[in-house]
């Protein structure tokens, strides 16, 4: 009985939600920066075969460990120098972006599929289904996911698909929590009851009424999880239990450069900076989308 009186004041009618959203997005600096970086990254990744000056796998032991072009001993042939096997660093960096982006998006998608499905079912059906899913969630949280990821990837065999699969299957909790909370909140609203009273089936209610309204938080989580997946793969490869040589994974490149890091810091700085940029871009985008669609959920 606590509902507030509905005001007779008419809200500004000019912008539809879609257009208002777009306007807010363009005004949000963080979001634009993040989006710009990601678009640039995707472009670089797509065009890598065209712009990379050399083959990232081509070794040239005579030209090992050359410094970048701004150092006295650097050359224009290898703008960012070469690694311990004489491979051009810039090319490896560019190709590495493909790996990171593909893994990030694919693993996040797997996690999204699992988490959102479970979350919507738990949130909509409640009761025993919810209890079972919550139990599953607790178990998943208790698992040391990095350890398990390391073990599984290494034991099964470190290939791209295995890495994507393992990371994706271990990173659905965030999706579940958010989807479940949003679904539970929406389920109580009257338009759901109205849809049921109109004769909609449960499936119709979930897809036609609930899903469009839970999309915003899911998108936010998706962008954040892309960043998390990228870092997860980098960690795995750095430790030696992820993608193996000679793949130009950024994490692996850092591991390979670690030993000569004191004298040749660019070997470690360059891929690390690339990782940092990409992940901060996804974080900025995720935060931006959240600020723009539901500023009250800022966390």
């Amino acid at each position: 009985m606590t509902t507030e009186s509905i005001t007779a004041v008419e809200p500004t009618p000019d912008l539809s939600p879609g257009r208002a959203l777009r306007a807010r997005m363009l005004a949000h600096k963080g979001l634009c920066i993040g989006l710009a970086i990601i678009v640039a990254g995707i472009l670089l990744a797509l065009l890598a075969p065209l712009i990379a000056p050399h083959d990232p796998y081509a070794q040239d032991l005579a030209r090992r460990l050359l410094p970048p072009v701004w150092d006295a001993r650097g050359t224009w042939q290898n703008l960012l120098g070469t690694d311990h096997l004489g491979r051009d660093y810039l090319s490896r960096l560019l190709y590495g972006s493909r790996i990171s982006i593909v893994i990030g998006v694919a693993a996040a998608s797997i996690g999204c599929l699992i988490g959102v499905t479970l979350g919507m079912c738990a949130g909509y059906f409640g009761g025993r289904v919810d209890e079972a899913v919550s139990y599953l969630l607790t178990c998943q949280l208790a698992l040391p996911s990095l350890l398990l990821a390391m073990s599984l990837v290494f034991l099964i065999g470190p290939s791209l698909f295995v890495v994507i699969g393992v990371i994706g299957v271990l990173h659905w909790t965030y999706f579940l929590v958010v989807t479940r909370a949003a679904t539970m909140q929406i389920r109580q609203l009257d338009y759901i009851s109205a849809a049921r009273a109109l004769g909609s089936s449960r499936w119709q209610v979930m897809t036609h009424e609930i899903l469009p309204n839970v999309l915003s938080p899911i998108i936010v989580i998706f962008t954040l999880e892309v960043g998390i997946a990228i870092l997860a793969e980098a960690s795995l490869s750095f430790l030696g239990v992820g993608l193996q040589a000679p793949t130009p994974s950024w994490g692996l490149m850092i591991a390979e450069g670690k030993n000569s890091m004191f004298l040749r810091p660019w070997l470690v700085i360059a891929p690390g900076a690339a990782l940092f940029l990409l992940v901060i871009a996804t974080n900025l985008m995720g935060d931006g989308v959240r600020d723009v669609t539901a500023p009250e959920n800022r966390n």
Binding site: C139, L239, F262, V268, D287
Partner: protein, 305 residues
């Protein structure tokens, strides 16, 4: 309250049990342990011999049952590669990891919570923006890269701190900073949001109408409410630090459980991996159980439901 405690304890046990089952299944189906022990070059006969010797030919359920029996009795198995008791290995490596995790937690709490409070008390000002930017940045930095950068900084440029090994307490400073920094964004944001929500709530408005000023309000009414969710998150973060110490220990050459885990994985030592995962899960479960109890004690709505 007693019933609540028993319920949560039972749940905690069930979760640990489920995790151990899942891990066991995953590990034993992901690879052939006999092959791993015998080595890549061994022929089929040798592998089969190993299989029978270690009992890998038995059905999985039976193998798990015997593992469980061993755990309950305190016999945690023997490592396949080092041929020592797993319990010995754990005991030898645990202190380093525990020290690391606790000091990392300390750093997180000391940085994140005050930062979150300050940001919440002055929302949308410079301080708030700095804090949020810090959070976004810290979340994006790969922890191993941060570790390496710090090693370059303190190993080469300003050699005041040791960068490798675990002999003295000073060796733990940099690793604790790296490990702690990874949790700072989440805890800071949660503190900030929680406090913002509380400060905007109706009961704080009531407190102001009774005559409280900002400092008084903060201490009396707001903190206790705002800390409720933070307690849970801190427990989760601590639990994750134990499992997430692999990278930090590897970068700084600390001889803890993380290092042990990495070596076990590289050597396909399933017995040790299984035990490590179980121990980490059990610790996490116990920590969250304690956090639940603390929460229930602090929040009368749960305590007196």
């Amino acid at each position: 309250m007693l019933r609540y405690t028993l319920r949560r304890a039972l749940l905690a046990l069930l979760v640990a049990f489920t995790v151990s089952v899942a891990t066991f299944l995953l590990l034993h189906t992901a690879t052939d342990p006999a092959q791993a022990i015998a080595g890549a070059d061994a022929d089929a006969a040798a592998v089969q011999q190993v299989r029978v010797q270690y009992g890998f030919d038995r059905p999985l359920a039976v193998q798990y049952a015997s593992w469980l029996r061993g755990v309950v009795r305190g016999e945690l198995g023997e490592s396949y590669i080092w041929h020592r008791q797993v319990s010995e290995l754990l005991a030898a490596h645990a202190p380093v990891t525990i020290a690391l995790a606790l000091s990392a937690m300390l750093i997180t709490v000391v940085i994140a919570i005050p930062l979150g409070i300050v940001a919440a008390m002055r929302p949308n000002t410079i301080i708030d923006r700095i804090a949020l930017t810090l959070a976004v940045t810290a979340q994006a930095v790969p922890s191993f890269w941060l570790g390496l950068m710090l090693i370059v900084l303190f190993g080469v440029m300003f050699p005041v701190l040791p960068v490798s090994g675990d002999e003295t307490w000073r060796h733990f400073i940099l690793p604790a900073v790296v490990l702690g920094a990874s949790s700072v964004p989440a805890v800071m944001r949660l503190t900030r949001t929680g406090l913002l929500d509380v400060m905007g709530s109706d009961y704080i408005r009531t407190a102001r109408s009774k005559g409280y000023m900002t400092g008084g309000i903060l201490v009396r009414h707001a903190m206790r409410n705002a800390m409720l969710p933070v307690v849970g998150v801190l427990a989760v973060q601590l639990g994750h630090k134990l499992g997430g110490s692999v990278v930090t220990e590897s970068v700084f050459a600390l001889n803890g459980l993380g290092r042990l885990a990495l070596q076990s994985i590289l050597g396909s030592d399933i017995a040790t991996i299984q035990m490590l995962v179980f121990v980490f899960a059990l610790t996490f479960v116990v920590l969250t159980f304690l956090a639940d109890l603390l929460n229930a004690w602090l929040d009368p709505r749960i305590r007196l439901a």
